[in-house]
């Protein structure tokens, strides 16, 4: 069983559009949507949720008003500015460290378990799918990402699938490293802009740091062919394969509105290009360990 992850560094470069196309083209796979903060894959695959599992988050501090003597010790002890007006705790700011509980002389603070997200086990016309949603304002620590991947592995073993395709989160911090670590190949989707190149450099460094092989796709490459050349130069210099270039095409939005991936929606040039790229990705996947 192999794992393929699609990431981007910069948001909005077309990660989910490309991942959805790959999942349509791939046979015998499980889909794992690891963009748990703003997951969109389900808008294309329209999954039937078979089971939902709560994801436990950090504990949060709650003041027991009956016991509290308003001594004011907890407020300055909190390093996250979560306590104001002597004993009012803002749950959005509380990180659950328990320092307030430690300093409270009358044991008036309870550390309460919370649910930080929901993980879904689903079936879709594209195949089995694991996806999740972090609840609002919760810490995106990467733990939910890891959990999605674990369930995807279980699902993959159970259904005898040979591949897990992971839609990764944007950025470079913990959710990204959790999505990338231990995968067989990381596809980075970028765009020919200074921001795209800047964030491509950051994310490929992170991917290499975690000893995963990055490959690059330039989306909307014809918006600025000069910048596309610069990305090519960067990839050559760093010995990162640039697997393909996808032109800007309004059909991408049309397909999204129709709730379909590009190869499912449309039998034109864009689909041919994406198929070619997918074949290269698949070949690389079969070659790597």
């Amino acid at each position: 069983m192999k794992e393929l992850v699609v990431v981007s560094g910069k948001g909005g470069t077309g990660k989910t559009t490309i991942t959805a196309s790959f999942t349509y083209l791939a046979k015998n796979k499980v889909i794992a949507d690891c963009d748990v903060d703003a997951s969109d894959m389900h808008l294309i695959t329209a999954p039937d949720i078979l089971n939902t599992i709560p994801f436990k988050g950090r504990k949060k501090a709650v003041v027991n008003e009956d016991k509290c003597i308003s001594c004011g010790k907890c407020e300055p002890a909190c390093h996250f500015d979560a306590i104001s007006d002597i004993n009012k705790i803002n749950p959005i700011k509380c990180e659950g460290c328990g320092v307030c509980d430690l300093v409270c002389p009358v044991d008036a603070i309870d550390m309460v378990e919370t649910i930080a997200g929901d993980l879904h086990i689903s079936e879709s016309r594209y195949g089995p799918m694991i996806h999740a949603r972090l609840r609002i304002g919760e810490e995106n620590s990467g733990q939910l990402v890891t959990l999605v991947r674990q369930y995807a592995k279980i699902m993959s073993a159970d259904r005898k699938k040979e591949l897990i395709i992971i839609d990764g989160p944007p950025g470079t911090a913990c959710p990204t490293t959790s999505a990338v670590t231990g995968t067989n190949l990381a596809v980075v989707v970028t765009e020919p802009t200074l921001s795209g190149l800047h964030d491509l450099k950051r994310v490929t460094d992170v991917i290499k740091h975690f000893r995963v092989e990055p490959v690059v796709i330039v989306n909307k490459y014809d918006i600025n062919k000069n910048m596309t050349d610069k990305i090519q130069e960067y990839c050559n210099e760093k010995n990162i394969p640039l697997l393909g270039k996808i032109p800007f095409d309004k059909v991408v939005v049309e397909a999204m509105v129709a709730g379909k991936s590009i190869p499912e929606y449309y039998n034109g040039e864009l689909t041919i290009i994406i198929k070619e790229i997918w074949e290269k990705v698949y070949k690389l996947l079969t070659e790597v360990n």
């Binding site: 969109d40 609002i136 910048m227």
Partner: protein, 284 residues
């Protein structure tokens, strides 16, 4: 006035809008631009600031004095983040898991723990014309953006107009960037992905009880569902920008929208006027 520019979905044009707003208002206002998208800070590409100050930012992590430590394990028990491990006569601290809460230091009965800064990011400050520019830049491989955003937010000036470029999404890092501001400008595109993620962002901002408005970028792509949703939720669509190839090309080389099409400066001034009146409405 503090305005946060946010979006559920990434790549909808947050940085285009925040830099263009800053440039349009800097002619007659004291503008501070804070780039809080610390995982992918891109404001500098458009504002091209002269950096005059660079400092390390980080989290206070425990440093154990082994001459004093008696390996009692109280610190490890107190740590909610599993950042300390004590085993017989060994103690290990995992800096990247530490949140800097000081619980370990508080429970240490032999005073063996000092807190020292573990650098996880770079703070850069400078001037872009008459715009005061600040950015946080998370070191690669560092897992936690939120404490850095919090540190940068502590430096916000009391006076003048502050524009905060927020990270995408709706999790703790976005909340940290947006919280305690006067107004949130949500940048979206009217595609199904854009609308889906906008809804999550709207729910997040509601929780913080901050007035908000929408900028519809690439407003002619996708569907009209965005406007129906905005109307239903009673959130004003304050500005619409069509998809223009020359804007996308300008963006690709770091040219701000208002330099590609200077007429937009007036529109951003109008946008600010609308924001001002929405904020004062809320205060009343």
């Amino acid at each position: 006035m503090k305005i946060a520019v946010a979006s559920g979905k990434g790549g909808t044009g947050k940085t285009i809008i925040s830099t263009s707003l800053a440039l349009s208002l800097a002619t007659d206002k004291n503008v501070h631009y804070f780039d809080c998208d610390v995982e992918a800070p891109n404001g500098h590409i458009f504002l091209k600031p002269d950096i005059i100050k660079e400092e390390k930012l980080g989290i206070d992590v425990p440093k154990v004095n082994l001459d004093k430590c008696d390996y009692c394990g109280a610190c490890a028990d107190a740590c909610e983040f599993s950042a300390i491990l004590v085993a017989r006569n060994k103690i290990m601290v995992f800096n990247e898991l530490c949140h800097g809460c000081y619980a370990c230091q508080m429970v240490c009965h032999v005073d063996a723990i000092n807190m020292e800064m573990h650098s996880t990011a770079i703070y850069r400050e400078g001037n872009a014309g008459n715009i005061h520019f600040v950015e946080g830049r998370l070191n690669l491989g560092e897992p936690m953006p939120t404490p850095i955003i919090s540190k940068i937010k502590n430096l916000l000036p009391k006076e003048g107009l502050v524009i905060i470029d927020s990270p995408p999404g709706n999790s703790d890092s976005m909340v940290e960037a947006v919280i305690d501001t006067d107004f949130v400008l949500l940048v979206t595109e009217p595609t199904p992905f854009g609308l889906h993620d906008l809804k999550l962002a709207v729910d997040t901002v509601k929780l913080m009880n901050i007035p908000m408005g929408i900028v519809a970028n690439r407003a002619d792509l996708g569907t009209k569902d965005l406007w129906d949703y905005a109307k239903k939720e009673n959130i004003p669509v304050l500005m619409e920008i069509p998809f223009l190839r020359k804007v996308a090309e300008g963006y690709s080389t770091g040219i701000p929208l208002v330099d590609v099409i200077p007429e937009y400066r007036e529109q951003f001034k109008v946008l600010y006027k609308k924001i001002e009146s929405l904020v004062s409405e809320k205060e009343r």
